[in-house]
């Protein structure tokens, strides 16, 4: 697999769209390309952020936050 092919597959990999039969080859290439491959995968995960930011923020209730913080503080005490 060329590095360009690996980059293509990495973009599919980070959104979970690689088919099972493609995963083995991808993981082999990932090992052989080493840190360069890891850097590409890390970069590709930036797209997750972009997809989320393409959405208009949705409103949550104040009660939800109160519940969350209460759970966190209770967990701290226990």
């Amino acid at each position: 697999m060329s590095f360009e092919e690996f980059e293509n597959q990495a973009r599919l990999y980070v959104i979970g769209a690689l088919e099972p039969e493609e995963l083995e080859g991808f993981e082999q290439a990932r090992k052989s390309f080493g840190q360069r491959a890891e850097d590409v995968i890390t970069d590709c995960y930036s797209m997750h952020e972009a997809f989320a930011l393409s959405l208009r923020p949705a409103k949550s209730s104040d009660a939800l936050k109160d519940r969350l913080m209460s759970m966190v503080r209770n967990r701290q005490k226990s």
Binding site: A17, E19, T42, F51, A58, S60
Partner: protein, 218 residues
């Protein structure tokens, strides 16, 4: 509003690294960065979680809603996700990306897990198919009228996404927001598997390159 491409999350910007055009939202002078908040959460400071929640609950809830389309379930999941952020913060590493990216990845995984469970019980696949047929170009749907400081970033990211042909947007939408495999997308859209793969590859490359260009321009 001026867009600052330098990260406020403390992650070094390398020349070949794709980063988003803006760190969102704009922070008040002296406000803690996302990375500082994550470090504080790692030290079990609840106030840091509170600030992080205020900053990002809207984005994460929008993402969850985009996946599961149910307000009450989205609220439950949002609460679970912030609990997971609290519990798993020690696993966050700035070397692997920005805090928002880590949170989005976590939220997406939880939302898709929730969707799959729901589908198993309620045959939601049929409903999803109807929704997709009715809204083939849909990407931004779960909008409230709330307009906060994410606006400029959203416009810039949308500009990149909107350059894609509708078929590529649809394939990426189904993969990212529905967690569908290439085969599932092919079945859902009645498209050959090879075509789905090509649409995903081309579309994702354009988005990736577009985000990089956007960063370089700014």
């Amino acid at each position: 509003m001026a867009i600052d491409i330098t990260s406020t999350t403390g992650v070094p910007e390398g020349p070949s690294v794709v980063r988003l055009p803006a760190s969102v939202p704009e922070l008040e002078p002296g406000a803690p960065t996302d990375l500082e908040l994550m470090h504080a959460i790692q030290r079990e400071d609840p106030e840091a979680l509170s600030v992080l929640y205020d900053r990002y609950n809207g984005i994460l809830k929008a993402l969850i809603l985009r996946v599961i389309h149910n307000e009450a379930e989205a609220d439950d999941l949002l609460q679970e996700i912030f609990m997971e952020i609290w519990n798993q913060a020690k696993n966050f590493s700035a070397q692997k990306g920005k805090p928002l990216g880590w949170m989005v990845t976590l939220a997406r995984r939880r939302a898709i897990d929730g969707l799959r469970k729901k589908q198993a019980y309620a045959r939601a696949g049929e409903r999803l198919q109807t929704e997709t047929e009715q809204q083939p170009d849909a990407w931004v749907h779960n909008a409230t009228e709330e307009e906060i400081s994410f606006g400029d970033t959203r416009v810039l990211v949308r500009r990149v996404i909107d350059t894609l042909p509708a078929a590529q947007q649809e394939a990426i939408n189904l993969a990212f927001f529905r967690g569908m495999s290439q085969r599932e997308i092919a079945a859902q859209t009645n498209t050959p598997l090879g075509t789905v793969k090509t649409r995903l590859e081309l579309g994702l490359k354009k988005i990736y390159d577009g985000l990089k260009e956007l960063r370089d321009e700014l």
